[in-house]
Symmetry: C2
Subunit: 373 residues, 2 copies
């Protein structure tokens, strides 16, 4: 095994696979990056058994593949070493058995390898009918829903995001049972059969980081117990979460007793300031009360003090509303929107609060109120 | 008590005093900022009993001082509130007894005050003969010496930096007994009598952050058990550390058996890379060996691998040297230099290693070697 490659090229691909390594792993192979050197190029692999990453360096981007072969090397060390080497040519060569030498003009590192046989078989494969989506849209979906997932391992399905494909319709739902985010996306091509999967949120967020750069088409290949995301030379495999995702369709009402339109920035800033006088122990409770064309946002920590914020609103129905909710949940939900104005829909003080950019349903944020009045 | 002030002006001064508050403090007054509103302006104070900060807002920068008075308010809350308010006029007014209202057009915060009597008397005073130094030089001194102090509370004097003033000479020393930094500065004006004080490094680093902006003259007012730093409207008081600083004058030899000149960047990079294969348990040991016009920097973690780096050197004496030292200490020491070339002075493998930019003694870094050969 012997190759010569530019430091910058190798670094670009190590930047991908390093994200598949969990530093806490006790199994040496799972702290390793596998190099598979073939005539057509070099495949780099990493996995923590929850996510797996494959990054392919094409032959054209490699100075020389003198000899093919495989090896597995501690990921954190090879990453830090290559990162600190100057942007010169790097020679990587197998020396003795199970040792790899990494050298430039003035530096020579010799590292012990991990047994290739210990590295898991990743079963990266492609389906014939991948679903296609722009990576921009994918990142938007995750940004607008991921915060609403649960981090309680007691209900595993809620630690994932539910993706439901039906014809050219994609419905994405995340909920921790106190709030819910729902995003609807139109696909360019219809899917052949309905798909309903739950993907761990941790992996989805990692994928948005990996695929964040250029505007490209992202392919999703869905299998029974895994999903594969592919963009150019980069492939990420995520396991799926087993179980049935709760049916939330009846949670979102059709009719409302109060509809209020607010300026997003003004409303966000008032909640953000009022949130200073809330605390976790009190569920970050904030009060919201409309009075004619104004709304009053207020909160208190009795030992510290209290705050009142006034904002202008437009009411679509004449009745006033008095309700309380978590400032944290409201701030998370508001961050998902970009419109200048948003609409808030109420059904009294104990029913879910719905937020939308307009009367369409492409993005819905739902928050359960807190009963205090 | 009632004032009207621009958000941006108040924020600038809160940015100063917030640094004097320790979030871990259990005494409410030490989590507070004291506002002293006088005809001539507003003094803001904070302290954690180790450092104290006073920031003065001149009358000219205040829209209106309607009524004078004093109050103490939780520092973290007032800081976050003012930071999140829009850049408008803020009205601060005493309401009821021991409550303060902070308001803008749409926001109104009412905060409980801390009893003014509980706020410590800071004893901020000025001497008639302050020592003057540019804040740039002060920051350079701290940057070049602070890392060499000890964080072991068992020898309190070593957790400080020793400042010795003698005529127009300032000698600054920091050591943790394994390494030492020494900086000599010429003062514009002679001091009247010798001064020898030990200042806590934590406070000195905090002061460099507070005084880092414009190029200004920094005044130092030295008292028996405290030192006061003054720059424009900002005053910082630090307690002094009691005790005798060790006499280190004999530690730095006059003659050397080997003198080696290296390119700073090249040497730094080779140590930085070789340090990847060192660990704390092994004192981050790195080996350095000269051979004619080259030096070899090497290290190993047996389970992981080993590294060899070659750099070019100029030798002032013909004998070769083989020595080991902590890569961490060497990296810290090298960061203090800016010259393209530096000189390293040796007296065999067990005597201190000295680093200087040239043959002058204005900046000396000393590192004890590690005996391994």
């Amino acid at each position: 095994m012997k190759i010569i490659i530019k430091q910058s090229v190798l670094m670009e691909h190590l930047n991908h696979v390093i994200r598949g390594i969990s530093s806490k792993n006790l199994i040496p192979a799972l702290n390793g990056i596998k190099f598979e050197i073939l005539e057509e190029g070099i495949y780099l692999y990493s996995t923590d058994n929850d996510i797996a990453i494959q990054s392919f360096i094409e032959k054209e981007n490699i100075i020389n593949i003198e000899e093919t072969g495989n090896f597995v090397i501690n990921g954190r060390y090879i990453y830090d070493i290559v990162r600190k080497l100057p942007n010169e040519l790097i020679e990587i060569e197998e020396v003795l058995s199970s040792k790899i030498n990494i050298s430039t003009t003035n530096s020579s590192f010799t590292l012990n390898c991990v047994d290739v046989k210990e590295f898991p078989n990743l079963e990266i494969e492609e389906s014939k009918t991948p679903i296609k989506l722009s990576n921009e849209m994918f990142n938007e979906i995750i940004h607008q829903t991921s915060f609403a997932t649960s981090n309680q391992e007691s209900r595993p399905v809620l630690t994932g995001i539910n993706f439901k494909f039906n014809k050219n319709n994609l419905e994405v739902i995340a909920t921790d049972s106190y709030r819910l985010s729902k995003k609807i996306v139109k696909l360019e091509e219809k899917v052949k059969e309905d798909i309903n999967v739950i993907i761990p949120v941790k992996n989805l967020v990692e994928i948005t980081r990996l695929f964040s750069t250029e505007k490209e088409i992202l392919e999703m290949h869905v299998f029974t117990n895994k999903i594969i995301f592919k963009m150019n030379n980069l492939i990420v495999l995520s396991r799926l979460i087993n179980g049935n995702y709760p049916d939330v369709s009846k949670l979102i009402p059709e009719d409302f007793t109060n509809i209020v339109e607010v300026n997003l920035e003004e409303f966000y800033n008032s909640i953000d300031r009022a949130a200073l006088l809330t605390n976790e122990a009190d569920k970050n409770t904030i009060r919201f009360e409309t009075k004619n064309n104004n709304a009053i946002v207020s909160s208190t920590i009795p030992e510290i003090g209290y705050v009142e914020e006034i904002i202008q609103i437009k009411k679509e129905k004449d009745e006033d509303i008095k309700i309380a909710f978590s400032s944290k949940y409201m701030i998370d939900a508001l961050k998902a929107f970009e419109n200048e104005q948003i609409k808030i829909y109420f059904n009294g003080e104990v029913k879910p609060i719905i937020l939308k950019e307009n009367d369409k349903d492409d993005l819905i944020q739902l928050i359960l109120p807190i009963r205090t009045y």
